[in-house]
Structure formats: C-alpha cells, structure tokens
Symmetry: C2
Subunit: 387 residues, 2 copies
C-alpha cells in the first residue's frame, strides 16, 4: 500500500559463541534474508543500507558499514553505521523506515552485526561498560549488572515484586529458546537453576542476565508500492517510535520505570492505532530479567507493579495475554548488541507469517511489537508490525 | 517551500587542540547554532537528532548521541550516532534530510563531535587506522598517509601532476584558514614550507596532511514549510547524494579516482539540476592535498588530470572558477573526524548568507557544494546548497 513500509525478507546467523568473524556472520544473515524473499530480489535493487553495530572489540571502528556491505555486492550503495549501543539496529530500522517514507528510497537493507567473543573477558568488560555514562557511572565502577540490580531492588521494594518473578522470565525465555535453532542457549532451565546460580549483583544471578553473543541479522525493507514485487505476504511496519533518556540512573526521577520506553510505547500505539491488548506477541528487551518486567509495565501491557504477577501467572507465555520473547529473548536467544534489534524483527517476520518452529509459533499471530533498549535505558525504540 | 529541506541555523566550536571535552564542545556548537536562528527556535521543536562521531578515543563508544543531546535539553528526543569515519556527520545530514523529506519530522538536529587530542600519539595512530580495511590494509602496516601517498604517486605518474600543485592546495587553504577565527591553523604558509616539511610518506610531507583536531559542529534543519518560522534567509539543501566504495585500494581499478565521489557527484548534480560550473564555492575533502585535486576532477569541475594545473593556475581560489575550501578546509580549518562534514556546511551556511569574514567571503555566492570522504574513499557524501 502507498505510504507503507514493508519487510519482505529477514534472516540471521545463529547467535552464540561462534568461530566466524563479522564478515562471515554478516554475509550469512544477508543471504538468508535474500533467500527468504518469496519472489526473489536482485541485490541491485537495494538503494540504501543501514547497519547497526557497536563495533565491539574495536577492530573496525570506522567505516564498518561499508566494509560489511562491500562483501555482498553492495559496494556502491550508500551505507552507514548506526550506533546506539544495544539498540543500534532498531535505530537502523527507524532510519530506513524514514528513508522509505520519504519516497526517495524503494528498497533498503537494515542489518546488525556484532562479534563479541574473541576478546579476553577483561576487554569484554570494558566494551560492555562503554555504553553507560562514562563520567558518572562507568568510571565510578558501575556495571550494567549493577545498574539493573538497582532497578530490580527498587522494583521489589516499591511493588513487592517477587524474586521468583524475575527468575520466571529466564525460565520462560529459555523454554522458548530451546525450540529456536538460532538461539545461543537451546536448553530449558528451572527456577532453582536461576536462584542458585552465581550472584552477579544482588538480587540478580548469572541466569538473570543475557549472554555475550556473536551474531548478525538482516532485514529487507520495501515501500508499500514495491513490496508486491517481492512477496505476497509482507510484514508491514505499522509504527516506528523512539525516545532517548538520560544515561545515568541518578538523572531519572524513578528507576522502576524507563521513561523512554513509556514515551516511545505511547507514540508507537498512537501511530499504529492499536492498544496493548491488540498485540499477540512482543519481543521485549530482557538483557536482565527485570528489564522484561519493567517493559511490560512501561508499554502498558499491565499496570505498574503488575509485571511480576503477570509473569508468575503465565500471562506472558504463548497462549497467555501476550506471548513475550518467543525467540528466547536476549536471555536465551542471545544478545550480539548491534544485531539484537533487527533480530527481534526476524522473529516477528517469522511469527506473523506463521513460519516459526511449531513449539513456539503463536497461533493466529496478527500484531507484534518489538522493544529495544540501548544501555540501561538511554536509547529506546519501539516498533509495531502486522501483516 | 514544500518538499524542501532548509538549514535555519549552524554553529561550531573552534577546531584545534582544545582543553574542552566532548560535552563542552558539543554544547558550544549547539548553542551557537541555536543563536544563529534569526527568529529563534525553541529546543522543544527539535524532533530528531543525528550525531556524527567516530567516538575517537573510546571513552564513550556506546550511546554517545544520547549523552550529547541530554546536555542541551533534548533528553527525550530520538537520537542516534551515525558513524562513517571522517564522513560521519555528512551521513547524519543525509539521514536527517531523508527524515524531513518523509514529512514526519519538521525540525531536526545534525551534529558532529570529536575529541582527538587527549590520547597519546600511539593511541591516536591506532584510532586513525581503524577506518581503513583492517584485514588487508591496517594490519599489514598501511596508514592513511601511506594510502594517499600511493594515490598521489600514481596521479603524478599518470597525469604529470606536479609536486608543487599538491603543495599549492595547502598554501591556498592555509591562506583561507588564516582568516577563519574557528580554524585550527590561522596562519599562512609558503610552498617552501610544504616542500621542506618532514616527510610523512613520499611524496606527502607533514604539510600535505590535515591536523588532528578537537571540535564540534551543529546544524538545525527544518522542512520547507517550517523554515519561514525560523528565518527569512534559509539555506536549502538542493541535493543529497552518497555512495560507498571498497575500503581497500587494491579492490579499485584505478586509484587516481574515487568512484564513490564520481557516483555521488553525478547524482547530486542531477538532483540539483545544476552543473559544476554553477557552483560558486565547494568544501572538498582535503585530508591530504591530493584529495582536493582528485575531488576537483571526480566531481567534474575539471577534466581528469587537470586538477593540478587548475590549482597552480589559481582557478580554485576566491575569484577563480570555483572557490575551494574557503573555510581553510580540513588542511587548515582542522579535521575533528565526525565533526568535519557538518562543519563544511557551517561554512556554506555562512557563505551563502554573506556572513563569512570579508577576506574569504565569496562575492555573490549562490550555489555551494560539500564533499566529504570517510577513510580513503569508502564512504562519500556530496551535498549541494543554495539560498
């Protein structure tokens, strides 16, 4: 349809500790996306490329986008890297969406790529820290585990959120990940596993945290006018909303909520003309388990303080009110920073076309939402999709 | 005018070895841009922010855009970092241009910021290298001086370009920089100075190279409909074109030309409905002196091989066929990587409104072009402007 933006192809590498480098991962994701285009798409039709990445590890900090796209036959296409830490490729999606909405671009590539595991762990720690407020948090010793632990503690204090509710997020997402052949962790875990895992930062244990993953993702976007040339079953982007926020927690009035999520969520539902109860599945940013619970509340799926009970009552499972993180989420599918946002959309693309593995396919899924967070809430993007 | 994109404000910090950090530089550029808006602009009107930066030095590699914008009252505005090495903020401009062309964004901020000089020189060298092809050039020992020296040598061999022509680029741009109070180098140099300077990579000496600079730049963009609310003399973006290219020189058929410049230039002139001879002033990417000569040719200002003679004949001086790098260029104004592209547009904004210092004001300037290059030609952006 005119004025619309459609996803006509989507692909990703496996997420995990992989032997491949960035070029191989990017190429794998790109060609899986190309192969997923029902009627085929000639690489020469791609007119603009937006590549989300932190350039984790620092091997290729400059011109990374052009280096990736030259591998796949896009050497002359305008390419740029979009960086907003863990939400990089969601902003790449937003920028491609704006480009297509301009009417000046017909077909665009959105991709994400990150190679995280070939650094020693002290260097990984440095690279994980540099998305926080360097001056006021990182150099004072804060880690993301620590910042999310503060949010979790306060949430438990203010709303009586149970420790088990946090753990249940991990249990649920691992259950989904067990059926996702691309997931970093493809095995189930129990509540006991989470509670007894090594402590990261009280009350969060190792299993409340996503892993450090390698991976790449790719989406092929087309204007509503162009989309029918590529597929009869596109997935439309019904809303693209984003908001930034103070990086440091001390600048926020209340750390049990992420204001950027509230703002972007409200705007996304306005654009889509939808309400939270219309959403069949949501990929929510669960870098730490408390993140999923706060996002449920901040996006209006449930009232403030109800995220914990909702989770324990199974209302975020497949068959519940809204199926959350059917891919396994960042928690089990993995979290290759810059690749994560577009990866959430890979899941949506499969789910809305009924192509997910049957154990995790949401029956009759029609409306989906993605929520991606950079750092501890600094850069948020919320997208809504339907067929 | 409807469908147009206008620049209604522009500002920059001084470029140079500065004591200020990124936040201070960004804030200075932002408020100079705000103050330059004739009828005033409320910060709450800014709906989207695009910040170009390499994040040189690595202190804030993630979420840098949000950290910058939160300083100036834009904490909830969607902000992202756009990275394409030295052309980062030109792609930020392109993405803001696309956003405004979508009709969904009325007013946007484009900014660039880089803090380069607080690293020891061996770390500076690392950070300068990481925009080249890591696998095939950087790790094999190539530097940008070396890569541009290869281009210069080949250009001299194929076209008989004189060593003095390269040097004359530096002499001319220093003459302009001497009258730019924001320039890194505000003093004239002689041909002898260039020829006798320490050798970087034959035939290029220290004075054929731009310096390592700190700095920040900011542009305020508005839709054609919104622009008259802010100023009666906006500068319109008549064309935005970009092209990427293989990073490594060995992948290009001919290293005396940058194919991305040819492609983007052709497309920019097509969009603007203009020809090279219509351009009154051009800010061309002179990270190394040979770069300006190749850009003159690749953009069609003169025939291939004529860039040297044009320079020696004074045809690129103020009063010549096209006034090139009236700001001083990267060579004398300075080159704070991510800030450079938007900085070229700061110069254009001043020139087209007749506000440049009188020694370097191009009389009756009506059409201007900017040409910005990431790395040794990997990511190119060309923009054309007029009142």
């Amino acid at each position: 349809m005119a004025g619309e933006v459609a996803i006509v192809g989507a692909g990703q590498s496996r997420f995990g500790v992989l032997r491949e480098g960035m070029k191989a991962l990017f190429t794998e994701a790109f060609f899986e996306a190309m192969d997923s285009v029902d009627k085929g798409l000639d690489v020469r039709e791609i007119r603009e490329a937006f590549v989300g990445s932190m350039a984790f590890g620092g091997g290729q900090l400059g011109n990374l986008a052009a280096l990736m796209t030259e591998q796949v036959g896009l050497a002359h296409v305008p390419s740029r890297r979009v960086e907003n830490a863990c939400s990089s490729s969601s902003y790449a999606l937003r920028d491609a969406w704006l480009a297509i909405r301009s009417g000046l671009v017909d077909v665009a590539l959105v991709a994400g790529v990150e190679k995280m595991t070939d650094l020693p762990s002290d260097r990984q720690r440095y690279w994980l820290g540099v998305s926080g407020d360097t001056e006021w948090e990182r150099l004072a010793g804060s880690t993301f585990s620590g910042l999310y632990a503060l949010m979790a503690s306060r949430h438990m204090h203010d709303y009586g959120t149970k420790r088990e509710a946090l753990a249940q997020v991990a249990v649920k997402n691992h259950r989904h990940g067990a059926h996702n052949p691309k997931a970093h962790f493809q095995r189930e875990i129990t509540l006991e596993d989470v509670l007894r895992a090594p402590m990261l930062a009280h009350p969060l244990t190792l299993y409340d945290s996503c892993p450090i993953s390698d991976g790449a993702t790719a989406l092929l976007l087309a204007s509503g006018e162009a989309a029918p040339r590529f597929t009869d079953t596109p997935v439309y982007v019904r809303a693209s909303a984003a908001a930034s926020e103070f990086l440091a927690l001390h600048d926020r009035e209340d750390i049990t909520t992420v204001p950027g999520t509230v703002l972007a969520g409200r705007e996304a539902f306005r654009q889509a003309g939808a309400r939270p109860e219309d959403v069949d599945l949501a990929e929510l940013h669960d870098a730490f388990t408390i993140g999923e619970i706060m996002a449920l509340e901040d996006l209006g799926f449930c009232a403030k303080g109800e995220g914990g009970p909702w989770t324990l009552d199974g209302r975020t499972e497949i068959g519940g009110d809204v199926a959350v993180n059917t891919s396994g989420g960042l928690k089990a599918k993995g979290h290759p920073l810059g690749a994560t946002g577009a990866g959430q959309v890979v899941e949506v693309f499969k789910q809305l076309r009924g192509d997910a593995e049957k154990e995790r396919q949401v029956p009759g899924a029609e409306v989906a939402l993605t929520h991606n967070v950079g750092g501890s809430g600094a850069t948020i993007a919320v997208h809504i999709f339907s067929r």
